[in-house]
Symmetry: C3
Subunit: 131 residues, 3 copies
């Protein structure tokens, strides 16, 4: 019962983790963080900057599947300081609206976790998209 | 590669977040919490009451897609006090069985998070359903 | 709008939770932990051992659907000590590569949670597979 996967890998951790895998019309994406192509965390004290970079990584992944941000259906935000995000909601969600080019038609779940994979990270965004 | 989304929005945060999005036969739902239609948290000290309200919100979302609780396949419980839930399992899971009208045929994952989006919240339930 | 579910239940908590549910070509799995068929946590101080047992449970679930580890597309790791896992990455991810029989083609998200359902647990792995 083998399945056909389309796998996208790029960036500093391409050897360890796939950025996205498509099976049929669904694309699962690995959680994306505010890390650039050189492996540097952007905006160590700036959640909105990390959100912007995470979405840039998501958009780049989707592009390699021939898809765009409009293909995203579900997102989970794992954050390290939800109260801080709520207090700075205009900047953080402004970065999100900017990334989508408008208020997106997606479901969203946001929870505060104890930690992300690196201490400098403030947000990790896990998306499911469809084509 | 545009996709057709059916989007359901209602309740106090309809301007910010979709309650559910359907693409093809899958419905993703945003994490639902123990908040009523007026934006009030119910059962501030009562996890079972929050579970009951969260499922009421889930059922209402599914109904707008022409679906019911029986369409749910997967649920993730993000909770703020897993030991407290285990100690009060009869009430909490009783509320769940009541919401489903019997022991449900769904997969479940439960983890304790550091916080939810509002400090009064004790549980957030994220579901995936199919039609 | 009823759907047809194939449900797999086994192990010490079969009465409370489905291990996996298939609808169409997608299989959702409940988060799996380092607990054996007798309900004993393996490797209380050994994350790699818990990862090995969790994947054994996942493989057993998939087998009952006629599927294998190669059918997994997405995994979420909920862990209690991400820094410890990173410091012991060779053992932990070695156990993962062993379970898959090579570097897997799956997406992965890893976050540190405040707690899992039992204090002895160090990792819970939630997978989505396709057939």
């Amino acid at each position: 019962m083998a399945i056909e996967k389309e796998v996208v890998r790029f960036g500093p951790y391409a050897g360890f983790i796939a950025n996205g895998v498509r099976v049929g019309n669904v694309i699962h994406l690995s959680g994306q963080v505010g890390m650039d192509a050189q492996g540097q965390v952007v905006g160590v004290d700036d959640t909105a900057a990390q959100v912007r970079q995470a979405y840039a990584n998501i958009a780049e992944t989707l592009e390699k599947f021939g898809a765009t941000m409009a293909n995203i259906v579900d997102e989970t935000f794992f954050v390290t300081d939800v109260a801080g995000i709520m207090a700075d909601a205009k900047a953080v969600f402004g970065a999100r609206i900017e990334a989508y080019g408008g208020e997106p038609e997606v479901t969203q779940t946001m929870v505060e976790v104890a930690a992300l994979v690196m201490p400098e990270l403030r947000v990790e965004i896990k998306c499911v998209a469809y084509v």
